[in-house]
């Protein structure tokens, strides 16, 4: 009976390792943090591509050909003169607010996955019977002559003690983690859905709007004033560069969404005990997506240089 109990304890312990949860949580926390820091923010787009800023720079480019649209440097507001900076960046509050809400969503996910990683860390709860066994051998050698244990038996006792003390703890921790993940799974799914919507629809829409703003307030005025085909070619080339850099941002956004979907799938698989091979695929997908996002960032940095 005792043998059966021990065997089942070892079996349960070996089946219910938190290693996979730990690996998943680590990847998910890193990927989510990466998405938060690597993707464009609403305010960044607004600062670079709002109509007033673009009009200002395009009219500066056309400085030798005065345009009636060129804004004045000293603008008078209802409460007195408005600084050039204020004039260029009017009312960006809604963009700041959107960024802060996205940040809350990102941080909530990062925090959850980081805690999942900490709790599933195998180093967190571990008992090593080495010292106790050393004491036992000490007793054997010094005090009790009749108490004889071979090296083999000492190692076996050490293994049994480690198992007896560690496995129930592992099992308890595994149950707690799985219960938490199962309870949180639909909620995680909903939050990731919202985060994906923001990245893939709202932020991507804002990028499309930035491109359109450049077309209307940066490209068109300069193109309309271009006097020959060489100037027009140069203006078109500039437009292509802006278009390419914004396209890269959109691709990055889309890749981030794919990474989030992979995380959602992985969480669900681990919470409801799907096969290991599925998780390995999930883990590989997260790794691939992180590499892709990083690659895109490097490309953009190269473009800026």
């Amino acid at each position: 009976m005792k043998k059966l109990l021990f065997a089942s304890m070892v079996f349960l312990g070996s089946c219910k390792s938190t290693d996979m949860i730990n690996r998943f949580a680590k990847s998910a926390a890193n990927a989510t943090a990466e998405i938060g820091s690597a993707t464009f923010h609403f305010e960044d787009l607004y600062k670079l591509y709002n109509p007033e800023t673009l009009k200002y720079y395009s009219s500066d480019t056309l400085a030798l050909r005065p345009s009636p649209l060129k804004p004045q440097k000293d603008v008078m507001g209802p409460a007195g003169p408005i600084s050039e900076k204020e004039f260029l960046l009017p009312r960006s509050n809604e963009y700041k607010k959107a960024d802060s809400l996205v940040e809350i969503i990102n941080q909530t996910l990062v925090n959850y996955f980081s805690l999942l990683e900490s709790v599933s860390d195998k180093k967190l709860l571990a008992y090593n019977a080495r010292d106790l066994i050393q004491a036992l051998s000490g007793i054997q050698q010094n005090e009790i002559s009749g108490f004889s244990l071979s090296e083999e038996k000492i190692n076996a006792v050490k293994g049994i003690l480690n198992t007896i003390l560690n496995e129930p703890i592992k099992w308890y921790r595994y149950k707690t983690l799985i219960r938490t993940m199962q309870k949180a799974d639909s909620v995680i799914s909903r939050i990731i859905f919202t985060y994906s919507f923001i990245l893939d629809t709202a932020l991507t829409g804002e990028i499309e709007q930035a491109k359109q703003n450049y077309y209307s307030f940066g490209y068109a005025p300069i193109y309309n004033h271009a006097q020959n085909s060489v100037e027009k070619f140069y203006v078109n080339q500039l437009y292509d560069q802006v278009d390419l850099s914004l396209l890269n941002e959109k691709i990055k956004m889309h890749k981030s969404v794919l990474a989030l979907q992979t995380i959602r799938k992985g969480h669900s698989q681990l919470a409801f005990g799907k096969q290991d091979s599925d998780f390995k695929e999930t883990e590989a997908m997260i790794a691939r997506d992180i590499i892709l996002v990083n690659g895109l960032i490097s490309e953009i940095i190269q473009l800026i240089k």
Partner: protein
């Protein structure tokens, strides 16, 4: 029709404004030579209003999407809080396990008459008990 637009409807509206802006800009580029200054100014103002409105709608859609997910965010924070409590408990359990290990080590030192080991072991146990 719903009283308040949902985030997806807001995005659709913003996308329509973006497309409208593109069409007007195309028209402006094609007809630039034929337009007088007043017409150009009017077009410019229209484009500015369209661009500002569309840009803000994309940003506002985030607020609506966030409101829809606010309850879930609170739930996930509660789950994270639960994990945090468990983490603290687990760390306390680990401290107890560490004490067991140290006591065993102390016993070993006592049996072997290792005076230095005994002193070190006692210090270690006192320190651990003190930390709890």
């Amino acid at each position: 029709m719903a009283d308040i637009l949902n985030p997806r409807q807001l995005i659709q509206l913003a996308q329509s404004l973006t497309r409208f802006q593109m069409a007007i800009t195309d028209f402006e580029i094609r007809q630039y030579a034929a337009l007088n200054d007043a017409q150009k100014m009017e077009l410019e103002e229209t484009l500015t209003v369209l661009a500002t409105a569309a840009g803000r709608l994309y940003a506002y859609s985030v607020q609506l999407a966030f409101e829809e997910a606010e309850e879930q965010l609170l739930q996930i924070r509660a789950a994270a809080e639960g994990l945090n409590k468990f983490l603290k408990t687990a760390r306390k359990i680990q401290e107890v396990l560490d004490i067991v290990e140290s006591v065993a080590s102390l016993a070993d030192a006592i049996i072997s008459h290792d005076l230095e080991g005994i002193t070190m072991g006692i210090d270690q146990v006192i320190q651990m008990v003190g930390n709890n």
